[in-house]
């Protein structure tokens, strides 16, 4: 105890003041200011998106059409990057300093705080090397995901491809997608995107100061699992598809084969094609541009997008609806003097032959233009009503066969084809006083009528079924539960009674029966050839058929552009496909097979866009029965491409 005793209070006061200062500071840091918790979480939390495996697509027999292969994306969060040996990283992933700067700037441009892709799709070897060094590169981490892989490189246009989402995709999806995600752009990948993509998972990983993962935040309480996309079973038959693609190699055209009893598409070929594996991997961008600029348009999905005048197949439909309308019957006969004259003799639509007086099966067999000219005239002019109205009824009946409308195939961007309305003609001629003579070429599937290969194959399925069809589709069932879309099991009648099919089928049966080249031993195939004239080069070769006649198993349409007559390519290809499908062999003569398979390139450069439609007269040329080329004349009108 001495005289400065009271100073004890000053000293204790200093202690208390200091403790109070610390307490206030702690109060501010821990209670008032919330930002530190956020910073701590930002420090330690890495949201790692777990990408689900996209659904695998199998063929109808369970063979793989598309599967997944793992790749690794190098991600970067610019704000977390600390100075490091950039050169080492560049060497590891095989880029140069310039490329590094570019990528980094891009990442900064996207967001300094959020992770974005620095380098895409590293191989597993690169990934293995990188993984060891990754702790040196703060702010970088690797995210694995899968890419598509196509073991047989087939069915490119059917399968389509996936691509990184665009800003628009993200917007449209209400931000479901994030930059760097993939989305189906065409084909099945797009049509079934929502099933195939699966569900993203998120892992909340905790990392230490060196960015090394240390486990899951809250023991994974906030983690979500990735749910793999649904697997799809395609209706395609891989063997058939491969065979058809082999046949169609070096040719331009399409093949569609349908199982009539289900509407399942067995083969779906569009050539020129491309290897779907080109649309995957680091070279994807270059390949895509290459394909896009290819004058042969390999990305064009010909079976559903290329529209042609239907030609012969239209006669089949015409025969059916006219019978149903009661305007003709099996034994209705017309005389074919080598052509059909109309408009009081002012117009003449030539036929390939002088068929004489023939009935309906013979008219189908001979593809008689004259006969169907008469049929069309009856349908329009002799129904005790105005031609425009009769045309409307006729059109309605025709459309039931899937012409000029979406068939509803499960692929995007299907084209409708074309069958003008009555109004179209009323407008064109200024009044409704027109009749069959004004558009007689419609009777034989020329003129304004257009159709896709898929629709053509579907008409064959309708004929095979004798009056109904199922929506042609490419996906047989979805997921493990084998769900079938309800619209694909809905039976769609075409409004023509079964009995009216027999005369037509009889005619088609004869076509094959009397052609040794395409006849299949032991199987009664019903089909028809067609040849379409192409004013810019060689004719297009067409064949459509179904088989067997009783209890049909397959309906097919083959279209080969610019290769000459129907019998040269389309018919043998269809015949071989049918035989392969039904008997699993090919008995076609080696010579024909070799001709079909020959390596030489039959792809003629596409003509320049839409030439002027002003030509009036066409020349007629006759060859053999199945090599019919029709030339018609009509006032003020011409046809670009036609089939008989």
């Amino acid at each position: 105890m001495n005289s400065f005793f009271e100073r004890k209070y000053i000293i204790q006061g200093i202690f208390i003041a200091a403790a109070l200062l610390l307490a206030l500071r702690l109060f501010y840091l821990q209670i008032v200011d919330d930002s530190y918790l956020l910073s701590a979480n930002n420090n330690v939390l890495r949201k790692v998106v777990v990408y689900p495996a996209r659904g695998v697509i199998l063929d109808r027999t369970g063979k793989i059409l598309v599967q997944n292969e793992p790749v690794y994306d190098l991600m970067v969060t610019p704000r977390e990057v600390k100075p490091f040996d950039t050169l080492a990283l560049c060497e590891l992933i095989g880029i140069d300093k310039e490329g590094f700067d570019k990528r980094f700037q891009k990442a900064v441009g996207f967001s300094p705080y959020r992770a974005s892709i620095f380098e895409k799709q590293l191989s597993s070897q690169t990934y293995a090397r990188l993984q060891e060094m990754l702790y040196q590169f703060r702010g970088f981490y690797v995210q694995n995901r899968t890419v598509r892989s196509y073991p047989d490189s087939v069915a490119a246009q059917f399968l389509g491809y996936i691509n990184e989402v665009t800003e628009k995709d993200i917007e449209r999806s209400n931000n479901f997608y994030r930059p760097g995600d993939y989305i189906g752009v065409s084909g099945v990948e797009r049509a079934y995107e929502e099933l195939l993509r699966g569900q993203r998972g998120v892992q909340n990983l905790m990392v230490d100061a060196f960015n090394r993962p240390k486990g899951h935040f809250m023991d994974g309480k906030y983690d979500t699992l990735a749910v793999a996309g649904e697997g799809l079973v395609s209706s395609l038959d891989l063997e058939m598809q491969k065979l058809a693609e082999k046949f169609m190699k070096n040719k331009r055209g399409s093949v569609v084969a349908i199982e009539p009893s289900t509407g399942e598409i067995l083969a779906f070929v569009s050539t020129p094609s491309y290897d779907p594996n080109m649309m995957v991997g680091r070279e994807r961008g270059n390949n895509y541009m290459k394909l896009l600029n290819d004058p042969n348009k390999p990305m064009f999905i010909r079976p559903i997008q290329a529209q042609y005048p239907p030609g012969s197949v239209f006669k089949v439909v015409s025969a059916l609806v006219s019978q149903q309308a009661g305007m003709i019957e099996e034994h209705t006969r017309y005389n074919c003097p080598g052509g059909y004259s109309y408009g009081g003799g002012r117009g003449f639509m030539r036929c390939t032959h002088v068929h004489g007086t023939i009935d309906l099966p013979a008219a189908i067999q001979g593809s008689c233009n004259t006969y169907f000219g008469h049929v069309y005239a009856r349908m329009l002019d002799q129904r005790k009503m105005k031609a425009a109205q009769a045309y409307g009824l006729w059109r309605e009946a025709i459309m039931k066969f899937g012409i000029a409308q979406d068939l509803g195939v499960d692929l995007p961007n299907e084209k409708k084809g074309l069958l003008p309305t009555a109004n179209f003609y009323t407008k064109r001629y200024g009044n409704d006083k027109w009749g069959s003579g004004f558009n007689i070429s419609n009777s034989i599937g020329q003129g304004e009528v257009e159709i896709t290969t898929l629709q053509m194959a579907n008409i064959m399925a309708i004929v095979a079924n004798r009056g109904f069809y199922y929506r042609p589709h490419l996906i047989k069932s979805i997921g493990e539960k084998k769900i079938v879309k309800p619209e694909f099991i809905e039976k769609l009648p075409v409004g023509v009674e079964q009995r009216y099919f027999e005369p037509v089928i009889e005619g088609m049966s004869r076509v094959v029966k009397y052609n040794a080249n395409i006849r299949i031993p032991g199987i009664e195939m019903c089909g028809k050839t067609g040849t379409a004239q192409n004013p810019h080069g060689k004719h297009h070769s067409v064949f459509f058929a179904f088989a067997p006649r009783v209890n049909p198993k397959i309906a097919i349409a083959v279209f080969v552009e610019n290769v000459g007559y129907g019998a040269t390519y389309a018919a043998p290809i269809a015949s071989m496909m049918v035989e392969k499908y039904l008997k699993d062999t090919i008995s076609m003569s080696k010579a024909v097979q070799d001709r079909v398979l020959k390596e030489s390139n039959l792809i003629v450069p596409e003509p320049p866009k839409e030439p002027v439609k002003e030509t009036i007269t066409m020349v007629k040329k006759t060859k053999s029965a199945e090599d019919n080329v029709t030339y018609i004349s009509h006032s003020q009108r011409a046809i670009l491409e036609r089939w008989d």
Binding site: N2, F5, Q12, A18, F27, V44
Partner: protein
């Protein structure tokens, strides 16, 4: 019998012992949390810091017991020798010391490392108490102050040579002892405070602004006290002195302080905003403590400390673990424990009959206070980063042992205060 009881606990200040033990245990648990690795979760393992700390705590218990047995007079007599030994160790460390983190502060002994600067505090404190107590009957004079200060100056210089600025600064806290004993006046404390404020202001603002403001303040002061004859001259002297101080601050700042020290000050003052570089430690420390919020993240749940975001987390930044895992509640508990300890020590010091024990007691309080305030102040960002441990909490055998010895020697004095020390 009665005598034994006094020695072994009868008059032992159990409150202090309780606080001491609590702090040691809190320290041990938090060191465990700071270096926790689920793969090696055993409680006591010599390969881990908390395993070692456990050994240190046990050692400290034994040492504390030993201190209580030894006669209190012993420390008075032995203080010059102890002081001498610590000075020798401080010289030795400069020759054979291990350089860790830029400071040559450790003497390796087997697997352990001795930090002489920690024990220098004890030696200096004892000798200062002895010296000042020997003059306690006289009126405090300047000569005694200077000689007393010299006792501290020698270890300060030796420690600065390591260079361990933090430990050296600790000795300045003993100024409060001089104040308590009357060698320094209240004005001196106020003057020191003003100097610190001026120092900070000068770094924040242009020195000419400050001199301008000072001129105005002095003019106002002179006017208010115009009745006093001394007012004007004092005001002028004050103005000139403070202006010179302000002018010298910049010079000292630029030329005497090392660049990393300048940076640490700049970070605190907000002149450097570089949370990833210069300010990384402080920023991560604040994040750790701030993210604890009211109740903390729970024991072993602190991500900042567990995942090494906070540097030196088991030694100088141990308070981050407390703040992060135990929140405001836990932090305040620790702060209050320290405040309780400090107040208790001053209480104990004041009740000593001998001047030696009293002065020593204040010495202990000052050293603890400095460590407590600077260390926690550093982790929460109100004091520049100065690398000194938090007594009893920070990992480290030397500091724990020297702090324990400091405390228990006082408790020994207190236990037999009724006797003559």
């Amino acid at each position: 019998m009665n005598q034994t009881k006094k020695i072994y606990g009868g008059s032992l200040d159990w409150v202090t012992v309780f606080i001491w033990f609590t702090l040691c245990i809190i320290g041990w648990f938090n060191i465990r949390a700071a270096v926790f690795d689920p793969a090696h979760a055993s409680l006591v393992s010599l390969s881990t810091n908390y395993g070692k700390q456990f050994i240190y705590i046990v050692t400290c218990l034994l040492v504390a017991g030993a201190i209580m047995i030894i006669d209190g007079k012993f420390y008075n007599y032995v203080s010059p020798i102890l002081y001498g030994i610590t000075l020798i160790l401080l010289v030795v460390v400069l020759i054979v010391g291990r350089n860790v983190g830029g400071n040559q502060a450790w003497i390796p002994i087997g697997t352990f490392r001795l930090q002489p600067s920690e024990f220098a505090k004890l030696g200096s404190c004892l000798l200062l108490a002895r010296y000042l107590s020997s003059h306690s009957n006289k009126t405090p004079n300047f000569k005694t102050l200077i000689l007393g200060a010299q006792i501290l100056l020698v270890p300060i210089v030796l420690i600065l040579l390591q260079p361990d600025t933090g430990s050296a600064l600790t000795f300045f806290a003993l100024a409060l002892v001089f104040y308590r004993e009357g060698y320094l006046s209240g004005q001196f404390l106020a003057f020191s405070l003003i100097c610190i404020i001026l120092f900070i202001l000068t770094l924040l603002f242009s020195q000419w602004y400050i001199i301008g403001v000072l001129a105005i303040l002095c003019a106002i002061g002179a006017y208010l006290f115009k009745r006093s004859r001394k007012a004007l001259p004092s005001a002028i002297i004050l103005f000139v002195a403070s202006s010179l101080f302000v002018l010298s601050v910049d010079f000292a700042y630029e030329h005497i302080l090392q660049s990393h020290q300048r940076n640490r000050i700049d970070v605190i003052l907000g002149k450097i905003d570089d949370p990833r570089g210069q300010g990384y430690n402080l920023n991560q420390s604040k994040i750790a403590i701030g993210s604890g919020q009211l109740f903390g993240k729970g024991y072993l749940q602190g991500t900042q400390t567990k995942y090494n975001f906070v540097p030196e987390q088991s030694t100088d930044f141990i308070f981050c673990t407390v703040g992060e895992e135990w929140g405001f509640v836990g932090s305040m508990f620790v702060v209050l424990l320290y405040l309780g300890l400090l107040l208790r020590i001053t209480q104990i010091a004041e009740r000593q009959r001998s001047a030696f024990a009293r002065i020593y007691g204040y010495g202990v309080a000052c050293i603890f206070f400095f460590h407590f305030f600077i260390n926690i102040g550093m982790t929460v960002g109100i004091v520049p980063v100065i690398g000194i441990p938090l007594p009893f909490l920070s990992y480290g055998g030397s500091s724990l042992l020297s702090f324990t010895m400091l405390l228990f020697i006082l408790l020994k004095f207190d236990a037999n205060r009724k006797g003559v020390v």
